[in-house]
């Protein structure tokens, strides 16, 4: 009995020793960065992470792509995030203590000082499904006619939905669309894109960069200049980042030439910083 108990304890001790020893050497080597980025950045950021892995092998990047509104809520609820890239200033303002208090109503302070900058800029386009189901929709004015029975937009928590409402209001179409009950509200720009690609909606408003990622949609029109505020994506390191130096290095890389080339390739433009 005593012999068995001793063997059992020895086994457990050796197991613990082995696992902690491995942990020790691993921790020194591998750093994991958690990046929350707007859904429209999916393709570009994945490419950038791949390049970054070759340059800095000990850092691995874990992404969470979703609507910026959802990401901001997750950060508020305590999610582990080192770097946040939003598709609109509003979501970043809501967690930045330095922002306008009328927007940051919760007086949240998640953004690390001096780390916020504008990463990329985008534009909003009207897309239609490609092929036989295309009903010859050529411009924004066609939306309130019978040519369109359903338009897919982001909901009011999604940046592209906020830009869409701004554009349609400026063009005088928003009230009429709501009265006609023709709007299908999606939870992220990718959902809007999927609905138009599947021809479930006759048209939709997404970013120019998203339209380029799907072969099943065609751009019918671009949002006219002056119909919306500048679409810029702010990025910031968060206060709760576990490895602030590694995150700042990655943020620096995002402003560098390789990352810029990838963003431009995907249809983004670089704003004044």
């Amino acid at each position: 009995m005593k012999c068995l108990k001793f063997k059992y304890l020895l086994f457990v001790f050796l197991l613990a020793l082995m696992t902690t020893a491995r942990c020790g050497t691993a921790q020194a080597a591998q750093k994991e960065l958690s990046v929350f980025a707007a859904a429209s950045l999916t393709e570009s950021m994945n490419k950038i992470a791949w390049i970054y892995k070759n340059i800095v092998p000990e850092v691995s990047i874990v992404y969470n792509f979703d609507s910026s509104g959802t990401l901001k809520t997750q950060i508020e609820q305590g999610a582990e995030c080192d770097l946040f890239i939003s598709a609109a200033q509003k979501q970043m303002d809501q967690i930045d203590a330095k922002a306008d208090p009328s927007i940051n109503t919760g007086k949240l302070d998640f953004v690390a000082e001096g780390t916020r900058f504008d990463l990329v800029a985008n534009k909003v386009v009207l897309i239609v499904p490609k092929g036989a189901v295309n009903k010859q929709i050529s411009g924004f004015d066609d939306i309130i006619t019978d040519k369109v029975s359903l338009i897919a937009l982001g909901n009011s928590d999604v940046p592209v939905g906020q830009y869409s409402q701004e554009i349609l209001t400026k063009l005088g179409l928003w009230e009429e669309l709501n009265k006609q009950k023709k709007i299908s509200f999606g939870g992220s720009v990718k959902e809007v894109l999927a609905q138009v690609a599947a021809a479930a909606a006759d048209c939709g408003l997404v970013y120019g960069t998203d339209a380029a990622t799907s072969p099943e949609v065609v751009i019918a029109a671009e949002a006219p200049p002056g119909s919306h505020r500048a679409i810029t994506y702010p990025a910031a390191v968060l206060r709760r980042a576990n490895e602030p130096e590694a995150v700042k290095a990655f943020a620096e890389f995002l402003r560098g030439p390789e990352a810029t080339a990838i963003f431009l390739e995907n249809g983004f433009s670089i704003p004044e910083r």
Partner: protein, 231 residues
């Protein structure tokens, strides 16, 4: 307060309950007659929507009845009917998800039925159809009603598949489940709480009904309803 989501949720749930009522009963009846291996395989297939994540069910439905899918494109071309993103699209998703509940409950009720009733009926020359509607169903009343109520509750509370197939179009396809999600996203907690209260009330009523039915079943009932189904 815009009551459309309540009206829409109730009508969709009622339609799908009707569909699953008949589909579930007939599937349970005919599945019982199959040889063992076929019965097992069919049983797994028919119960699948119960264990699959609703988003998986929604994905399959979209690929089938969507405008570019095999069923959806035919419907669109022949009658101009859009099977997705309409109020009746939710009937597809809720029926599929609620079906296993009706099917399994009905099957359980049929299998626990005393078969001597049927045998006696057959010796008296009564047809199988007559026996089914006048002997089997009345004797399995409790189980079938409980299954129907469960199917209704499930159809009322369905979110994942429905939000993918019907979307959220205010005034047209909005249901209680998708409305609460939308209100949460918009930060309109006050209205979201109101809808939660509405849903809680309906759920309580439905579950109380199930409990009443189950307690009625446990009461010692008159042994053997007559062959014509009258007490």
């Amino acid at each position: 307060m815009d009551w459309f989501p309540l009206y829409n949720s109730l009508r969709v749930a009622l339609f799908s309950t009707c569909i699953t009522f008949f589909a579930g009963i007939f599937a349970a009846h005919y599945a019982a007659k199959l040889p063992r291996v076929a019965k097992g395989a069919l049983d797994c297939l028919l119960t699948l929507p119960l264990v699959l994540p609703p988003t998986v069910v929604g994905f399959f439905l979209l690929k089938t009845i969507g405008p570019l899918g095999p069923v959806g494109s035919v419907a669109l071309r022949s009658s101009g009917l859009r099977l997705t993103m309409s109020w009746y699209s939710a009937i597809f998703s809720t029926s599929v998800v609620a079906f296993p509940l009706m099917y399994r409950t009905a099957r359980g009720a049929f299998e626990s039925l005393d078969k001597t009733l049927l045998y006696s009926g057959r010796t008296l020359g009564l047809s199988d159809t007559y026996l089914f509607w006048r002997v089997v169903i009345p004797n399995c009343k409790q189980g079938i009603l409980a299954g129907t109520v469960l199917a209704f509750a499930r159809a009322l509370g369905e979110y994942g598949a429905t939000s993918m197939v019907a979307g959220y179009i205010p005034g047209r396809t909005a249901m209680i489940s998708t409305t609460v999600y939308q209100l949460w996203r918009e930060g309109n907690d006050a209205l979201a709480y109101k809808w939660v209260a509405v849903n809680l009330i309906i759920s309580f009523v439905v579950l109380a009904a199930v409990n009443l039915l189950e307690s009625a079943r446990d009461k010692p009932k008159e042994h053997l309803e007559t062959l014509s189904g009258r007490t």
